[in-house]
């Protein structure tokens, strides 16, 4: 018997805002044209730790992750799940890149015995998941998943299946990334992925790449009946997550969009939904030429031209492994507020793209229904998350 999966908390650290309220408000304000969009300096994880040295054992990426997880857990009312029934899955692909780069740059300039002995445990991509697990006393499976820019969504999929199939009863799941090191940024510049003028314009005819960003976004997932039994405030229902691989190229998406189309269709099939049940697509929309062209084809093929589409990356920039988590949080908030944030940064939809109904300029009212959040990554990893309102009346077969 498959279990239903409830979302009972969300937490976020993003360039446009720290914490759910600031983040949501931030989505409606045009960002300054910056190619590198850092989490603001107001981010202060210090209160999360009793001692300063405890905090220094975490790379920035883990600090983002534990901060977002704490927010989600507080929002959910700190559910008392047995430790062995709790899991943590956090998507992360660059690991503690800052710690690794600092350690390497300092190497040779100091005696070896002054090097950072915690380099490996701070840098490993599973560190954010492990750090959340230690704070939350999660003794079920904890792990990272790495699917580059789809990692956050893939992590949500992993946790979703563990709850649905009865392995565990609650999980913190999402993505985290803090990869704004000059060396990594330059790699994206040379790959032609970064915007030259700092304007992230998803699906715009003048788009020239993404603004690179950082942060974390997580959901607290609970088995539906357990959440109801404890009187939790259920924010949304996670209906399905599907993942596929293009198996095409390490950076370029398969231009036919085959793998991505199959991914969205598999998610719909898994949730027993028709494309018309989806009332809004929160798109990956990186604002690179290739991603947006393929994604418009995917949306048009699966959903047609009439479903409202938005990409928040015009504001948030592209937070890589965190993006799928941050966008899942945005999707839950879109359901709560019944408002679709506009695709800021975009002024004229690229007429050469297959037709999509991109929400630009002003917000639009959400007309009930299910939200699809899509992620398409370097490496050809695709993921699609389907989120429904809590009172969606779904009866599980």
């Amino acid at each position: 018997m498959k279990k239903r999966v409830a979302v009972t908390g969300v937490g976020v650290v993003a360039s446009c805002g720290i914490g759910v309220e600031e983040f949501w408000n931030g989505l409606f304000n045009e960002s300054a044209p910056l190619p590198i969009r850092r989490v603001p300096d107001t981010f202060n994880p210090r209160p999360l730790f009793a001692k300063k040295w405890e905090m220094r054992r975490l790379d920035r990426v883990s600090l983002f992750a534990v901060s977002a997880a704490d927010e989600a857990l507080v929002m959910a009312g700190a559910p008392q799940t047995p430790a062995e029934d709790k899991a943590v899955v956090i998507g992360c692909s660059a690991g503690g890149a800052g710690t690794a780069a600092r350690a390497y740059e300092e190497f040779g300039t100091k005696p070896d015995d002054e090097c950072n002995p915690l380099l490996v445990p701070m840098n490993m991509p599973n560190a954010p998941a492990a750090q959340i697990g230690m704070r939350w006393d999660a003794q079920g499976p904890t792990r990272s998943v790495g699917t580059a820019c789809a990692s956050g969504a893939t992590a949500i999929g992993d946790a979703f299946r563990m709850i649905r199939d009865g392995y565990i009863s609650s999980a913190v799941a999402g993505g985290a990334e803090a990869g704004l090191e000059p060396v990594l940024i330059n790699g994206f510049v040379n790959a032609g992925a970064l915007t030259l003028d700092g304007r992230s314009r998803p699906f715009d005819q003048d788009r020239d790449g993404f603004a690179i960003s950082e942060g974390a976004g997580v959901l607290l997932l609970e088995e539906w009946e357990a959440a109801k039994a404890r009187g939790a405030n259920i924010l949304a229902e996670l209906l399905a997550v599907a993942e596929t691989s293009d198996a095409h190229h390490i950076t370029a998406p398969d231009p036919t969009g085959r793998g991505a189309i199959r991914c969205v269709e598999m998610a719909l099939e898994d949730a027993n939904l028709a494309p018309t049940d989806v009332s809004h697509v929160n798109a990956h929309g990186t604002s690179t030429s290739l991603n947006d062209a393929t994604e418009a084809k995917v949306i048009n093929t699966v959903f047609g031209a009439d479903v409202p589409v938005t990409s928040i990356k015009g504001v948030t920039g592209h937070a890589l492994s965190a993006a799928g988590g941050i966008e899942a949080v945005a999707a839950v908030l879109t359901l709560s507020h019944q408002v679709i944030p506009p695709t800021l940064g975009t002024s004229s939809l690229d007429p050469s793209l297959p037709s999509i109904d991109l929400v630009t300029g002003t917000p639009r009212t959400l007309d009930g229904g299910v939200i699809a959040s899509t992620s398409f990554a370097f490496g050809g990893h695709n993921a699609c998350v389907l989120i429904a309102p809590a009172d969606n009346g779904s009866e599980l077969a």
């Binding site: 690991g95 780069a101 490996v120 490993m124 492990a130 939350w136 792990r143 990272s144 563990m162 050809g380």
Partner: protein, 403 residues
């Protein structure tokens, strides 16, 4: 009854060479004469021997190379996959510090020239090896880096088993690897105090003084029983059960009583539907650090309700610690032990540590009647992952009436 999961291929690269036969040969050899100083590497590795395309030999990283070599070997043991249903096949492959060598060389090049290869950022990500395996074999289901530090290899097997049991997947390449030979990695691990100053890993020995850093990659091809039979594949072993737990204790140190590691062993046995007395051998994590071997011995005692009467062995005295690969290497060595009806030795072991709960460490190679075997591993971050393997044809009664 849930889907049965079997192993139909395996591949490995370690310091003893590429290929499962090379691994087995190496395990039976004495450790090289001169103890290495903290690192044991695949010194003879030359990419051109494996990658005729110069572009591939030069462009991809050592970790991705090892991952591709291991997965090629696994699939060559089990040919016959066609393009049809490629979406029902997935790839899980991870490491502890996936592309640290590339990151360091990128920093060097960037500081020198201010310029980088356009693909470098994609290649430095944790998912690069998994994505490259999927691209190389055109497998179009989930491909992902399932990261759990030194437990990554068995975490992938656990995750892959879950994927196949879900009914969505026919086959998953599962494993892990590591290529940690960088300027900085060995010094920081020495500073952390886990590297053997004597250069010898001595698992469970009273003289043990740390582990030996090593490298490699290991991959199991997991497949649903029905699919394997349907395509006439040779079945090498059955994955009876798996489990994953977390200490939630410390980012480096294992929980000192081994309680969550014990629960991982017990849950894997429960998942397999077997009791501890049916187990015939344990391929332990046995890193030869003070803390790991103590907590692992405690965990085995807890899971077995006292001292396990069966042989317990660790390969790390010979292979060194291959981090992300190590759990999967335990699985592969166990399957070779099924085939050769022989247990490899625990190289480096001499005198059992009297300060820790007693185990029957299998010091020397010996003939052995194959049976249900545990492959164990744990990692930084407190991740535990355990796999229960059984020779095929399975000797125990798995009919629904019996369970």
């Amino acid at each position: 009854m849930s889907t049965r999961v079997v192993v139909t291929g395996m591949g490995v690269v370690t310091s003893t060479g590429a290929g499962v036969e090379e691994l087995w040969r190496g395990l039976l050899e004495p450790v090289p004469e001169d103890p290495v100083t903290g690192a044991r590497l695949f010194d003879e590795y030359n990419p051109k021997d494996f990658f005729p395309s110069r572009q591939m030999a030069k462009r991809d990283t050592r970790l991705t190379h090892f991952a591709l070599i291991a997965s090629d070997e696994a699939l060559s043991m089990s040919p016959g996959f066609t393009a049809e249903s490629s979406g029902r096949r997935g790839v899980l492959f991870s490491a502890t510090n996936p592309e640290q060598p590339l990151l360091e060389s990128m920093i060097d090049r960037f500081n020198r020239t201010g310029d980088l290869h356009p693909l470098s950022t994609a290649m430095v990500m944790a998912n690069a090896a998994a994505a490259n395996i999927a691209i190389h074999h055109k497998w179009t289901g989930l491909s992902s880096a399932t990261g759990a530090a030194c437990a990554s290899g068995n975490m992938a097997v656990h995750f892959g088993q879950m994927m196949i049991r879900s009914g969505r997947y026919d086959a998953v390449l599962c494993g892990g690897g590591e290529a940690p030979d960088t300027a900085i990695t060995l010094p920081v691990l020495q500073e952390l105090g886990i590297i053997s100053p004597s250069g010898s890993a001595r698992p469970f020995d009273s003289r043990r003084d740390g582990t030996v850093m090593s490298e490699g990659a290991a991959v199991l091809l997991l497949e649903s029983y029905e699919h394997a039979i349907g395509r006439g594949a040779e079945i090498l072993a059955e994955v009876l059960g798996t489990a994953a737990t977390s200490d939630a204790y410390h980012i480096v140190a294992p929980e000192p009583t081994g309680s969550e590691s014990a629960r991982c062993l017990s849950e894997a046995l429960a998942d397999a539907g077997v009791s501890p007395h049916e187990v015939k051998a344990v391929f332990a994590h046995g890193t030869a650090t003070e803390a790991n071997d103590r907590s692992e011995a405690l965990a085995l005692h807890a899971a077995f309700g006292g001292k396990p009467s069966i042989p317990v062995l660790s390969l790390k005295g010979r292979t060194g610690h291959t981090w992300g690969a190590s759990g999967t290497i335990n699985c592969i060595a166990a399957i070779k032990a099924f085939q050769y009806e022989m247990l490899p030795p625990t190289t480096g072991f001499g005198t059992y540590d009297p300060e820790i709960p007693a185990l029957n460490v299998s010091a020397d190679q010996k003939t052995w009647e194959p049976g249900i075997t545990i492959a164990n591993c744990s990692g930084f971050g407190g991740h535990n992952a355990c796999v229960v393997l059984c020779p095929f044809p399975t000797q125990i009664d798995l009919t629904p009436e019996a369970s």
